[in-house]
Structures are given as C-alpha cells and as structure tokens.
Subunit: 226 residues, 2 copies
DNA sequence: CCGATACTGCGGCCGCCGCCGAACAATCCA
DNA sequence: TGGATTGTTCGGCGGCGGCCGCAGTATCGG
C-alpha cells in the first residue's frame, strides 16, 4: 500500500502553493523559523504551522527547537534533489519572464552551488578548457581540471558525496556543475567576494571584482542582461 | 510568475492519486491507451480523460492518435527522472509491505533498466569485481568492466545519454545501475530470457535460466524471498 | 512576576476539484 | 450502413482541505 500512494502523498504536499513556497524558501539549505516561513508562504502563522507539521511528519523537513524558535530545514539532500528535478521538467510554453526574475535567471544558488546563467557559464568555461566533461546525467573532472581548481583555491571537501555531478538548470535548460566540486567552486567565489548573497532571495549579485575575476580566470563576461 | 508557481503546479498534478497512478503505469516508458490508463487509475474513462488532458497540457505526457486509440506516454526523460527522485525521498517510517509488493521489490523495470533487489545485486556484483564505481550521484565503469559487459553481450548503444549513471532505488534505498550501461544490461538480460516482463506491472519475473545465469556470471543468488 | 513574542490547537466557513451519469463525436468491423 | 468500441464534453453532486479568528502554551527579557 505504501508504494503506490507514496508518490501521490509526497506530491500532494508539494502541490499546495503555500507549502511549495516554504520548500523553495528552504531550497538553498538554510534553516528558517516558522514565522519567516509563514511570511515566505504568504499565510498566517497558524496556517504555516499546520503546513510545517505536515511536511515534518512526512519526513521532508527536519526541525530543531532553539528557545522559543523552531528552525526548519530540508530533511535530506534527496528532498533538494526532488525539488530540482521537478523544476527541471520543461514547461510546455517557453518560460515567461516574471517580475524580478532576471536576477534569479542570471545567478542564484542551487542548494550549495551556483546556477543560472553564471552557473552554466562556469560549467561551459571549464568544459571548453578541457577541465570538465558534463552531460545531463553524469560528469567528470580531468586531472588538469583538478589542478586548475586547486590553483584557483577551490579544494573540494572530503566526503561521501559524489565529486562531480551535473544539475539540470531549470532556467537555462542545460546542466551546470554540482557535487563536491560545484560546492567548492561556489564557496570559493563567495569567499573571494566575486558573488554576494542577497536577503530573502536565492539570487546572488555579481560584484565588480567578480566581473573582472570571471573574465580573467574563466574567460567569460558575467555582465548578463539586467 | 512562472517560477514560483511551476513547482506547485506540477506537484499538484502528481498529487492526485488517479493521476499518480497514471504516471506510474507509464513509468517504464510504454505507451498506453486512455482506457488502459483509466483502469490503472481506478476511475471511469471520462474521469481519466480529464486527467490525461491536464497532464498532456502541462507537458508531462505526449499523445499519439492511432485510429480510434490515443496512446499516451511520458513526454520526456526528465519526467521519469522526476518520478524517480520523488519516490527516492525517504518515507519517515520503515516501508510497510503492501499486497503484491514483494514481486516489485525483488525485480522490476525502472524506466529502461533493472531495479529492486535484482538491480541492486547486479550493481553490487559489478562493484565487487572492480568493474564499477557507483555512489548516490555519480558512476564510472572501468576498462575491465567494459570488456566484461561486452563479453556478456551488453553493448551500450551510442547516444548522448550518459554512459553510466546511478539511480537511487526507492525500495532498497541504495543506488542501482542506470544510463546507457544500465539499459544495455537490462536489454541483454531480457534478450537472454533471464528476466521476463509481466502484464500490467513493472515487476519482472526471474526465469530459472536467469537464476543459473546470474549465479554463474555475476556470482549472486537471484532467488529472492517470495 | 509580568508583558511581549513565537508557536500550536480548535472550530467553522468556503471554495476548489475529483467523480460519475448521460449524451455526443470518431473510428473500426461486419 | 449499422452496431460496437473508444474517447471526449457537460452538468451537478459531494467531500476534502486550506484559510483565518480565537484561544492556549512555552520562552525570553526586565
């Protein structure tokens, strides 16, 4: 009985706009309080509380109580992967542009790595230099690529996560770089101040020093359309 | 406006049990008629027709009219991947067993490759022999592995799909083998008659010759619990 | 100890949507 | 051509569930 209903049960949870907004707000891996999530979902706190309870009980969220706050986060990387793969399903008509969408489309975080035009451009640059092979569902970094990244200061952490993984970019419809390599690359770009996180959005800003850096190191122009 | 609502829109479509059943019935890539899908969903044909219209309009299904039949199939590999990744999200309580579930759990098709205990056992066997490296989100076949598979008669087709890809098995919670290699392996097993497709289910039966073959070639006992 | 803040539980309203019965359109076969 | 099969459209019923107002519990600061 579990199998056939599992898909529908999970999907029904995601299918309500308020809950979908909650999950999207948590998509980059941060932990947020119930009130913040209520605001993100656009509903009253008691409504959000009910949603959070359902999501937690279903195992999609984990919760940590700290004082009078309760911090919610995605329970598992598989949850983030699920959200990715749903958003990667092509919309039937070409994507319409939404208010403020260009910033998201240019550069954003995708869980723990960079996505959007910036993420795809980085992946393309590495591919063109022969440092990387990437297809919609597999990827590999060459020895020169590892040396290049080390020289850049992006040393992937050890861990059981896969080294190099593609992630289908839902706005560009092409894979960008994820996995430990993608995370290390993003981390280094943040550390260098090339890109800067913004409040209340997954969009990231590209700093002037980043424009210069991406051009010098990776050979592409990160001044994407406004 | 499209971005934030896209997730909820898609998920709401999957969240209805009837529609989820339709998609699961199409999960292995077959094309089925509207009436067959109505039966699979457990609803009257006119209800199924409405569901199929919505799924098609949303771009999740594609349809081909042949005479008085209309054949529906998943529109895109990304749709199958989405279904996989949703089912891979861990259920909070340990999976309960459902009626007829053991067969599915033992061996089934997952889009175009083998899954369940059989799929995981195949992957484990190849790993143990040093033919394969596989982690939850990446995989690679060694040179000896390619030779072994060629000798077995599983020659992957050319194409732009990734050569070797893991696919998280939702019943075993461990990765099995997908991608062109996984498809070729499954194809060869079907061609040899080791495994046999069943009507109206994604479960596959393991033939006696298969029991012998898996033991000889891959070194594991495919006589899983009933 | 008291007020303020964060969160949860309950009850009731209301709207969306899945479902089926019936009728209609399209195709195949004899 | 006429009956059988497949599939779609329409209309109305019924129920599930999201939402909020209100009330209750826990925690922090002074």
């Amino acid at each position: 009985m579990t199998d056939k209903t599992h898909l529908a049960t999970i999907a029904a949870l995601l299918g309500e706009p308020a809950r979908a907004n909650i999950l999207l707000a948590l998509f980059d891996g941060r932990a947020l309080t119930a009130k913040e999530l209520a605001f993100a979902a656009g509903v009253m706190p008691q409504t959000a509380s009910a949603h959070l309870g359902k999501l937690t009980e279903a195992g999609l969220l984990s919760v940590a109580a700290q004082g009078r706050h309760r911090y919610f986060r995605l329970a598992d990387p598989t949850v983030a992967h699920m959200l990715e793969s749903i958003m990667a399903v092509r919309a039937p008509e070409p994507q319409r542009i939404w208010r403020g969408g260009e910033a998201l489309r240019n550069a954003r975080t995708c869980y723990d790595h960079l996505a959007g035009r910036l993420g795809v451009a980085l992946a393309d640059s590495l591919r063109a230099a022969g440092h990387l092979v990437l297809s919609p569902d597999g990827g590999e970094v060459s020895a020169e690529g590892i040396a290049f990244l080390r020289d850049f200061g992006a040393e992937p952490h050890d861990g059981k996560r896969i080294f190099c993984r593609p992630c289908l970019d839902w706005s560009e419809r092409r894979p960008h770089l994820a996995g430990r390599v993608g995370a290390a690359l993003a981390e280094r770009c943040f550390a260098l101040g090339w890109v800067v996180r913004q409040r209340d959005t997954r969009a990231v800003a590209i700093a002037p020093v980043g424009l210069d850096g991406f051009a010098r190191r990776f050979g592409f122009d990160a001044a994407f359309p406004p």
